[in-house]
């Protein structure tokens, strides 16, 4: 743009966030949102809603992993608050795995955290009833209008004027029953107006069995009796929040946990879902449903028809990414510039990340750091290295684990890495007796033409033999163009590794080629049958191993439960010591001076420290190794498997460095907090605020040097022994846990900053 500008300098601060997983509490005014078409559409829908009283909206946000669905949902919540202030009541619910009963529980629990919202609505009904009882009285006209406007407390008015309270409350109950069309809810909500029922009512609302004093009042079934009743209960809340000067906004994120093409709800649930959406619409509420695209496909068309607008998260364009990088550097460093990136590099980043915002952001973070280390601009080569090493790398482990699992389940065995016709193959799986075989090639992301050419030449060579099948697994990104070119030689789709669903994809592909090779082999039916039987036997013995092992575990559980309880309590005693020991300098058990920090901040630190819980797991394993029982053997196996890898040693170092860095960071924040001064409005003084920002910056800088995912990898590795036999479902849980651990640490400074600053008055705007 301008050749005479001064040479750009790198900042100590990395302007990009290390992880990009949206969380409600972490998205603030400073978060940069890329204004894509999808976001503009959604915001327009929201603005229209807020401007026009009455009708509600159901907005569906669909998109693949990392395309910014949650970010958009949270952005909408923030935007609504900016426009409408306190008059919009908001609730954010992460859909759990399970069914609508679990969703209702999550919903009700978020609501239970904000009981005042429900209480305010019930009081609103009470105020209306009291005002109605004064209808026509010129003496009471003023107080009645104050009650209706929410400016007078009905409880206080009834008390002060000596009004007939019981009849009024009976009337509230009747009205709540009428509008919710649910007798139990009418009764329960009314009880909130009576002294001493709050806890019992909330216990029931969040899905527990009703207490005796609620049963006496006709509330006999839990709200979570069925999916139907749970959905009905959610509708009740939408109706409860109808009217008045408030708008009700609910985000249900990750709806694909409940709804997917393979998990299609049955008829009755579809009807309840339809009623739920209708309930929100007629209640004038704004409901946001976010999830993977196939959650929509699981809905019947009449349910889908209730969605008033659908937004599909499109991949980022290169131009979007350029704007993001500029905006981010502007907000973090105060310089609106693209350097160290160039337009060409950005378009390459967008290309290899498939335009996924999460992936783009992660790459930007890593690339910025690398460019700063090398004191030069980001190059295409750098992008390739970073993408492979730091980004796709960790997935390979999980890929291999899934492949091995699937092979075991099929009763197939594989030789280790082999060269076949001069091609290095990862798995060589003989089928039958005539030399037929399946070969599996596992590759990282294929990022450029030369990698693709090599892969294609391998596949062609392997496919030279008629009785050989080739499966190609790609551990990272593969552009659509490359996918097409690979398909041509492979005669089938390459299998892309994704955290969820890979095992199922691989399983299906394996079954397909297995059947084909069986047919080839069937030229000699007897031999084919023999081979099949052998495989069946292998499969059975694998299953038997698992059953026997499980039986052994159950038995040892039953016979030694007392010992185990003692063991558990010992472990619990050890945990605080381990954590405490790392917090203090000389390993003394004295608690750190954390008492001076607000509890919320302390909790943020504790969560980060505990996120990986590697010490506990490792020390338990080490202790078990020396025992004399079945667990000792499996502990030894797991430790051997882990320590044999040099990566484990590096990872342990990373864990230690993370600990020490976090510990010093905590100490610095604590010391700063003790001396921080405020003005008479409780706002931080400028120099103290600057000092705080400097502490955060130092932490972020050094955090940037640490390979957090190595620690996560170790945690995952160690967790492996616990649940290696529990199949693929478990794998996805573990992947989630792994990500959470990384986020916990990656987002630490952000959360500390939010929590600490929330303790001080903010600068009054304008």
């Amino acid at each position: 743009m301008n050749d005479r500008r001064p040479p750009p300098r790198f900042s100590d601060i990395n302007p990009f966030p290390p992880t990009a997983v949206a969380q409600v509490s972490h998205i603030g005014a400073e978060t940069v949102t890329i204004q894509t078409a999808a976001i503009r559409t959604a915001v327009a829908e929201l603005q229209d809603y807020l401007a026009s009283p009455g009708a509600g909206r159901v907005l569906a946000i669909v998109g693949n992993y990392g395309t910014g669905k949650s970010h958009l949902a949270v952005y909408l919540l923030n935007t609504a608050r900016q426009i409408a202030g306190e008059t919009v009541q908001q609730l954010f619910v992460n859909a759990p795995y399970g069914n609508f009963v679990s969703l209702y529980r999550a919903f009700a629990e978020s609501l239970a955290d904000r009981r005042e919202l429900v209480m305010a609505r019930v009081r609103h009904f009470y105020a209306d009833v009291v005002a109605d009882s004064m209808a026509g009285s010129e003496l009471h006209a003023e107080i009645a209008s104050k009650l209706r406007a929410g400016k007078a407390d009905p409880v206080a008015v009834v008390e002060a004027l000596g009004l007939p309270e019981s009849g009024l409350i009976e009337e509230v109950q009747q009205r709540l029953r009428d509008i919710t069309e649910n007798k139990a809810f009418g009764t329960a909500l009314t009880l909130l107006l009576r002294h001493g029922f709050e806890d019992a009512v909330w216990e029931w609302l969040v899905g527990n069995d009703p207490a005796e004093n609620l049963r006496e009042r006709g509330i006999v079934d839990p709200t979570t009796m069925s999916e139907r009743s749970a959905l009905d209960a959610m509708s009740v809340f939408a109706v409860l929040f109808r009217g008045g000067r408030f708008r009700f906004m609910v985000v249900i994120d990750e709806l694909d946990h409940l709804l997917s093409a393979s998990n299609r709800p049955h008829g009755e649930v579809q009807i309840a879902l339809k009623q739920l959406l209708e309930g929100f619409l007629s209640a004038g509420a704004f409901l946001v449903l976010a999830g993977l695209p196939d959650f929509l496909e699981s809905l019947q068309s009449d349910v889908r028809a209730r969605i008033t607008r659908q937004v599909t998260m499109a991949p980022l364009t290169a131009q979007d990414a350029v704007s993001y990088i500029r905006a981010r550097q502007q907000s973090e460093l105060g310089a609106d510039r693209l350097f160290p990136f160039s337009e060409g590099v950005v378009s390459y980043i967008v290309d290899i990340s498939g335009g996924s915002p999460r992936d783009v952001i992660r790459l930007c973070y890593q690339l910025y750091r690398r460019a700063a280390d090398q004191d030069g601009a980001v190059t295409d080569a750098m992008v390739r290295v970073v993408a492979r090493d730091a980004f796709y790398g960790p997935n390979t482990e999980a890929t291999h684990r899934d492949i091995r699992r699937t092979l075991t389940a099929h009763g197939l065995t594989s030789g280790a890495k082999n060269f076949v016709d001069g091609v290095p193959v990862d798995y060589w799986i003989p089928i039958g007796s005539r030399g037929a075989a399946i070969t599996v090639l596992v590759n990282d992301a294929v990022l450029d033409d030369s990698q693709l050419t090599t892969l294609i030449s391998y596949v062609s060579r392997l496919r030279g033999a008629a009785n050989r099948e080739v499966l190609v697994v790609i551990g990272g990104y593969l552009s659509p163009e490359y996918t097409d070119r690979l398909r041509e030689v492979l005669q089938r789709d390459p299998i892309i590794y994704e955290k969820r669903g890979f095992a199922a994809d691989f399983d299906a592909a394996l079954s397909g080629v297995e059947r084909r090779l069986d047919r080839v082999d069937a030229a000699d039916p007897a031999a084919a049958l023999l081979a099949r039987l052998e495989r069946l036997g292998q499969q059975q013995s694998n299953t038997l191993d698992i059953v026997l092992d499980l039986a052994g575990r159950v038995e040892s559980l039953a016979t030694s439960s007392d010992q185990r309880i003692a063991e558990l309590s010992r472990q619990f005693e050890t945990v605080p010591l381990l954590i405490g020991g790392l917090r203090t300098d000389a390993g003394s058990a004295a608690p750190p001076p954390a008492g001076q920090l607000p509890e919320r901040v302390t909790a943020v630190f504790d969560d980060a420290i505990n996120a990986l819980s590697i010490d506990t797991r490792l020390s338990t394993l080490f202790r078990q190794m020396f025992d004399d029982n079945a667990e000792a053997a499996s502990a030894r196996r797991l430790v051997t498997a882990t320590l044999r890898q040099q990566r484990a040693h590096t990872a342990t170092g990373v864990v230690t460095l993370l600990r020490l860095l976090t510990d010093s960071f905590r100490r610095a924040v604590t010391d700063w907090y003790a001396t921080a001064e405020t003005d008479e409005h409780g706002r931080l003084l400028g120099k103290h605020r600057q000092r705080f920002d400097a502490i955060i910056r130092v932490f972020d800088t050094f955090m940037g040097f640490l390979y957090v995912y190595e620690a996560s990898w170790l945690a995952d590795q160690l967790a492996g022994g616990e649940d290696a036999r529990q199949g693929t479902l478990d794998h996805s849980i573990r992947a989630t846990r792994l990500l959470q651990g990384q986020d916990e640490l990656g987002g630490l400074s952000g959360r500390v900053r939010t929590e600490v600053l929330s303790d001080f008055a903010s600068d009054a705007p304008g």
Binding site: L139, H140, A160, L161, G162, S166, I169, R194, G196, E216
Partner: protein, 308 residues
């Protein structure tokens, strides 16, 4: 000038009248709304020849808050105690009625407790009171006993020979199962006086109450009739007939006051007492109780939620 709505001998003029503790109050009852009829219905308990030898008795005052339930029951208890004494004297008997007031328990038996918990707590305190005031022929042994149905039915045999009990129960919760329990367990020589403000709920229970071992008498109280305002005012005013400084009511103002919206006797007492209290405090007291004066009073009393 005196406030004609002050209650002599009672610090809080908004508390229910109670001739049991202050016999002067017996003259202050005014026949407004349904109180006279309710009182007469209560008196019928003694007219039938129960005499408490064959069974117990129960009366339930029904009406919302401030409708005068507590005062009515106080009046009933006072009357009954004296009536029993008069009849005993005439028949040369020593029968004596003791009033056991358990309404102080209202805070100990909150609505959030279940009905059995409430009944058992009340019953426990009843026994303790009887023991302490020596109305039991034998000392009460089983202090740990908390189950009402293991105690109440046998109470008559444990009372001193000539004792009759008038038990005043704490107000019910919105769940009024406890009334059914009492109605089924009341022994002879015991009268229970209960009150509930949950008029709507009582209807749901009426069938069960009518089938109970002791069928209760319902004393229903409602809002004031249009003429009640003036009647109430005049009777209170007439007690200070010679005091010329007391402001008179403008014509029709009291009828207007009690019909502007449904009004209870408690509300009326509260407003009139407050009004005269207000009038008294002024530097130049008003000479007449007018609509404007009342409206001003309401505005000053209903400044809830600020913007004064």
């Amino acid at each position: 000038m005196t406030n004609p709505f002050d209650i002599p001998g009672q610090r809080d003029p908004l508390k229910p009248l109670n001739p049991v503790t202050d016999a002067h109050h017996d003259d202050l009852f005014i026949d407004v709304d349904n109180t006279k009829q309710a009182f007469e219905e209560f008196q019928s308990i003694l007219d039938t020849d129960y005499a408490f030898e064959r069974g117990g008795a129960m009366a339930i005052a029904v009406g919302d808050r401030q409708f005068g339930k507590t005062a009515l029951l106080n009046r009933c208890a006072y009357w009954m105690q004296r009536e029993i004494k008069a009849r005993a004297t005439a028949a040369r008997k020593k029968t004596t009625a003791h009033i056991i007031d358990l309404r102080f328990l209202a805070g100990d038996v909150p609505a959030a407790l279940t009905a059995p918990e409430r009944v058992n707590t009340v019953c426990h305190h009843l026994m303790k009171k009887l023991h302490d005031s020596r109305h039991l022929a034998q000392p009460w042994q089983d202090e740990g006993q908390r189950e009402a149905n293991l105690v109440l039915p046998y109470l008559a045999d444990k009372l001193t020979r000539d004792a009759v009990l008038i038990v005043m129960l704490p107000p019910t919760a919105d769940v009024i199962d406890e009334l059914v329990v009492y109605a089924n367990l009341i022994p002879k020589r015991v009268v229970m006086l209960a009150e509930t403000s949950f008029v709507g709920r009582l209807e749901e229970y009426s069938a069960r109450l009518k089938r109970a071992a002791t069928v209760p008498v319902f004393l229903r109280l409602g809002v004031l009739r249009p003429e009640d305002g003036e009647k109430f005012f005049n009777q209170r005013r007439d007690r200070h007939a010679s005091d010329r400084s007391i402001a008179e009511a403008a014509p029709e103002v009291l009828r207007w006051l009690v019909t502007v919206k449904p009004t209870s006797v408690g509300e009326l007492q509260q407003v009139l007492y407050g009004l005269y209290d207000d009038v008294l405090r002024r530097r130049s007291p008003a000479q007449q109780l007018t609509r404007d004066l009342i409206a001003d009073f309401y505005i000053s009393r209903t400044r809830f939620g600020g913007d004064q």
